[in-house]
Each structure stands twice: as C-alpha cells, then as structure tokens.
C-alpha cells in the first residue's frame, strides 16, 4: 500500500462510518472494511475507478466532488477521507467546509508542492515540477490548486480548524528522519488529520 494510505489506514478507528472522496479503485476502503470493519462509501468520477470498486465490492457512487455534497446530511459520517484529490478541486476551501459539515473528522492527503525535488525543478531548472506525485505536464494536469504542507496548515488555522495530526509521507518508503525535521522541504505527500473548529 502507498505510504500515505498506510498511515491513513492506521489512523482510522475501528468500525468508523467513512466517506472517501475520490476513492479511486477502492483499495483503501476495501482494506479498511477488511481490517477495521469500516462501513462507508467512496465517491468517484473516473469510470475505470468505479468499475474497479464495483468488482472489488466497495460501495462507490458516481459523483463529482466539485458539485458539492448537498445530498449528504450533516454529521452523516465519523470520518471523511480525501487522498490526492484536493489539488484537482475547483475550490478546495469550500470542499473542506463541506467535508467537515458531513463528517466530524477529516483526513486529507495531497502532494506537497514544496517538496525539495519540486523546488529543484522550479528553482534550478526553471520549469514546472514533474514527479511521481505530480506526473502531469503543466498543460494537461488536472492539478489546478497545488499547495504546500505549510499552506494547508495555514488554511486550517485561518478557518480555526483543529489539526489533530500532520505528517508527511515519501512515496512507498517509510518517511526519512529528515522529513520529520523539515516536513515542508522533505515530505513528498502532506497528510492532515483535522476536526471542526472548537467553540
């Protein structure tokens, strides 16, 4: 399993009701159902991802996150997960609001644009970064809202959200000690666990 998914897997409580936004081929939800008796749904718009979920027995709903979650009631889920979709949304901030409306807690993973390899691309070569976590060219990328580990932390603070945990992951590897010291520089993937603003 991808390092970020493994970390998320560890964070999810037993028997939680989960909504996975942009669930892809449903591997995470399938693992959570198997290992943690999680119940829930994935939302996806990619036809191949949807078919893969259905074959796997993962509940998947064809729904565009950019259209909002107005069909989901407040507090319907214990946990809302979104991996590798934040950067492709029209308005990530509004989706974040929606996620915290329908779920008490959120786990969000996205490519950290401030990762040192990305900085090398931009800073030394003067070109838009292309990497394992950002595999597209600038002209055909679905990633329209790239951000950094630090940016997202700032957004959470601006919104008064509580960051329960924040980590970085590095591809398929265990995070290097350096990414604990300098997450914004050394983390390839940013992973946040957040809850609503405390009153």
């Amino acid at each position: 399993m991808r390092a970020d998914l493994k970390l998320i897997h560890d964070w999810v409580p037993q028997g939680a009701r989960v909504l996975d936004l942009g669930c892809g081929d449903g591997k995470l939800l399938a693992a959570l159902a198997r290992d943690k008796q999680v119940v829930g749904y994935g939302l996806e718009i990619d036809p191949d991802g949807i078919t893969a979920c259905i074959e796997r027995g993962v509940s998947v709903i064809e729904q565009d996150i950019d259209d909002g979650l107005s069909n989901v009631e407040d507090d319907a889920y214990d946990l809302v997960i979104m991996t590798q979709a934040l950067q492709a949304l029209q308005r990530p901030d509004r989706t974040l609001d929606e996620m915290l409306r329908v779920g008490r807690e959120c786990i969000i993973a996205f490519p950290n644009f401030a990762y040192w390899r990305h900085r090398l691309y931009l800073g030394i070569q003067g070109r838009m970064p292309v990497s394992k976590s950002l595999p597209h060219a600038w002209y055909d990328t679905p990633n329209i809202h790239l951000s950094t580990f630090r940016d997202f932390g700032q957004l959470c603070r601006d919104k008064g959200l509580t960051i329960v945990d924040q980590r970085v992951g590095n591809g398929d590897h265990e995070p290097h000690w350096s990414s604990r010291l300098w997450p914004n520089l050394c983390g390839e993937t940013a992973i946040f666990r957040i809850t609503r603003a405390s009153r």
């Binding site: 119940v39 749904y41 036809p47 949807i50 078919t51 979920c53 259905i54 074959e55 796997r56 027995g57 993962v58 509940s59 998947v60 709903i61 064809e62 729904q63 069909n71 989901v72 009631e73 319907a76």
Partner: protein
Amino acid sequence: MPDTLPPDSVGLVTPQTAHFDTPLALAGGKTLSDYTLVYETYGTLNAERNNAVLICHALSGHHHAAGFHSMEDRKPGWWDAYIGPGKAIDTDRFFVVSLNNLGGCHGSTGPASTNPETQRAWGPAFPVLTVADWVHSQARLADRLGIERFAAVVGGSLGGMQVLQWTMAYPERIANAVVIAATPRLSAQNIAFNEVARQAIRSDPDFHDGWYEEHGTVPKRGLKLARMIGHITYLSEHSMGAKFGRDLRTDQLNFGYDVEFQVESYLRHQGDTFSTSFDANTYLLMTKALDYFDPAALHGGDLAKALAPAQCPFLVVSFTTDWRFAPPRSRELVDALMRADKTVSYASIDSPHGHDAFLLPHPRYEAVFGGFMRRAARDLQLEETT
C-alpha cells in the same frame, strides 16, 4: 437470423408455464383465484440452488429476454445483449428466470384470459395490479422452481421498481439487487405521459370501455398513439436527431398531412406494429402499476425508512440522456439507500440513447453491470455450471 446461433447466445429457448391454484390476494382488495405465469429459463440451476437470477421486465416487455424461439426468428430476446455465456448475466454461472408478469399479454394470466367466474374474457374487469402484486406472484414462481433465495433480482425501468419491491418485501430472498434506469416513484410529468397514453386508448371508438374483444374490435388507433408518445419519451432528442434529423421520405415538401418526415414514418411504423401485438387493457394496467408505485408514501414520504428492511447490495445505473427516468431519479434512490446505510454503488452511464439505453449494448454499462454480477458470483462462490 443467421444459419448458426451466435456463440454468446443462450441458443434456442422454449417458454414454459406454471399454473397456480392458491388464490393471490391483491393490493387493490381483489383476489385472483388461480393464474398462469409463462416464463423462460437460461443456464442451469446448481445443486445448492443459489445461482438463480430473476429478470423483471418493463412496460411492454415479456418473458422472452434472451435467445431465440426458432431459427427463423429475426431478433433475439429483448435483453440478449446482457444475458448469455460470458455476458453481464453470465449463463455459464447463473440460472436465469424471466417471466411475463401477471396482467401481461404474452401468455401469463391477464385481461385477455378467461375469467373463471363469468367464463368470458376478463377484459376491463381484470383487477388493477401493483408492483407488490407482481413481486408476490414472482416469489410464488420462485417457490415452484425451488429457489429459496435469488443470487440477484435485476430489472430496468418498471422492472427496476420490481427489484426495489423485492428488497423491501422479501429481503431474505434476494442476495443482490440491480436497479437500472428506474425511479423510486414516477414524477408528475411521467404520470402525465401515462395518462395521455391511457386517454388515447380509452377514447378510441373501438375500445368499447375495454370490452373490445366481445365487440370483435381492436383499439388500434389508441394503442398506436399511446405507443407513439411512449416511444418519443424513450428516445433522446439527440438520438432522434441523429437517426432521422429532418430527413424527408420524398425529396420535397408536399404541403399536406401525409407522412413527410422520416421520424413520422418511423413513429407510425412503431405504433402500427405495437397496436397489433399488444393488448390495450394490459397497457392500461401496466401504466397504472407504474403510477401507483411509491414505497416512500407508506412511510411518510421517507424513502430511506421504506428501504430499511433491505439487506442486499444494490447496483443502481442511470443514463445521462434518459429524460423519462432521468439520472436525478436514480440519485434520489441512491441518496435514500445511503441514508439507510445500505451497500450501494451507482454509475451514470454516458449514452446518447435516452431511456432505451438500458436495452442497448454499451461498453461501460457492460463493465459496470458485469463487474457487479462477477462480484456477486464470487461472494456466492458460484462455479461454472457448464
């Protein structure tokens, strides 16, 4: 029909009949003392009797869903694209049961059958049936065939309503539900279309308040009109445009009221064919069953509550250009299933063919439908039976 049967066809099939002497109490208050159901089966029922799939048909459907009745048949059954060896409903694994619903006009007891009390044809006196009545009779057919629990109950359009009814009325007898191009209840617009169709039939002078058989007439004009308006709603504006455009039958306008545009010719042909092959009283009855279906109404309008008894995984499929049973109607159902914590997957298939898309071959539809059925077969540990 070619000289040889296609390899992915269920082949030559023969309809069977089952007669029932146990009275069937109907939702409308009446009782059918005895009745006959005509049905076909494809594939082999396994020793565990857990590989049966029930096909529920739509408004003008019938039991002949797949294969050919004879080598002279021009066309296979109405859902041949999805039933057969290696198809979405794989008859190498599943045993398929497809029946003509009660009230139909293809061999099951209906308005054209003899009323045992009067020894005349039932005609308009045949009781109005509901989706619940159909499902009740289907469960009895399952009993007769020794099927305790269906591996899946599958249906499109009005057939999808029957699938929903199965999940609520017999949750322990259905392992999987596939609801295609359906709705948990008709919209006002849908009921309106049905009413126009009914009025077309009922206002035909040959209808004789439904006693046309005794008058030796057939309300062909009414049936034709009913089918024409129905047909318009089953296609999309796009598919009609692509098929006919503004093409004329001759090369010029005639400034008259005969058939001029190809689309007129097509609709008239569809209507004519239908008016000689379908029973008017059956058409009225089927549209009423559609109109009446509203499981949420019994639970204060709360569909999630109505669906509470359901236990099985659902697959819900809609088609982007279907405006008769539009995608938002399927979403209504999906949202209610999610609220009710049911296992459900939903796909909205991009097709230009309107409501009719549920009958037509389509790679993504096939992948989604087939994927769900393969998962169902895996969960039930079904082996190949052939």
